[in-house]
């Protein structure tokens, strides 16, 4: 009886730890970039990517609205450090700090858009 009880307590505390870890991770992700600050910093981007990041005007530019924030941030870092070679984006990303990049990424990720993953193909 007491062994059963301690097993139950153990399982419950494992669940609690898992939940706390998830919360910490989620908090961390949202704390990274500030979408409101990003809106102001993203002004130069909107000329090509659209005010809401949907890039409806010109098909050569990617839609950013609704893209994962950490992917947008990764792409900007790669343009900045040369892992992606694109003359326009290198120039745009060069003056941005880590915080600027995270804020801009948070802004575009928060905008409603048409992007979605391909999980429908696996069903």
């Amino acid at each position: 009886m007491s062994r059963l009880h301690s097993t139950k307590t153990f399982v419950m505390s494992t669940h609690l730890i898992a939940a706390a870890l998830l919360l910490a991770l989620a908090g961390n992700a949202s704390a990274k970039g500030d979408a409101v600050a990003g809106a102001a910093k993203a002004k130069p981007c909107t000329a090509c990517h659209g005010t809401d990041g949907n890039a409806n005007q010109d098909q050569q530019y990617p839609r950013l609205a609704g893209q994962y924030a950490d992917y947008i941030a990764q792409a900007l870092q790669e343009y900045k450090n040369g892992e992606r070679g694109n003359a326009i984006m290198k120039g745009m990303a060069a003056p941005l700090s880590h915080q600027d990049i995270d804020d801009i990424a948070a802004y575009f990720a928060s905008q409603p858009g048409k992007l979605h993953d391909l999980s429908h193909m696996k069903k």
Binding site: Q59, Q60, R63, Q74, E78, G85, L115, H116, L118
Partner: protein
């Protein structure tokens, strides 16, 4: 009359196939995209080292997708897995993949 009809059909087919190859054929693209779903078809799937979500591709702009895949193919983008994938594609494959990915709506299959 039969000859004229046949000529008309042949001409229409020729025009249709020419425009498809220039712009990319979503039906052909769909056959190639199954490989992509290994990473891009899992909601929330993350790249490792560095750790970030692989991008959402459904509904992305067609010409951008062509540019991005071509950049991986030419080595202008460094990601090793994407370079390996893109190197195996012809320009026509890339156009077809871009045509399919850009054509799918938010509810998935159109």
């Amino acid at each position: 009359m039969n000859l004229a009809l046949m000529f008309a059909i042949t001409a229409t087919l020729a025009v249709a196939s020419t425009s498809a190859s220039a712009k990319g054929d979503p039906v052909e693209g769909k056959k190639l995209v199954y490989t992509c779903t290994g990473c891009h078809g899992i909601d929330g799937y993350k790249n490792a080292y560095p750790n970030y979500h692989v991008p959402r591709l459904g509904g992305q702009n067609e010409q951008y997708l062509v540019n991005a895949l071509t950049a991986y193919k030419k080595g202008e983008r460094a990601h090793p897995t994407m370079r390996a994938q893109a190197e195996s594609f012809s320009d026509k494959d890339i156009a077809n993949i871009a045509a399919y990915l850009s054509s799918i709506g938010t509810e998935g299959e159109k």
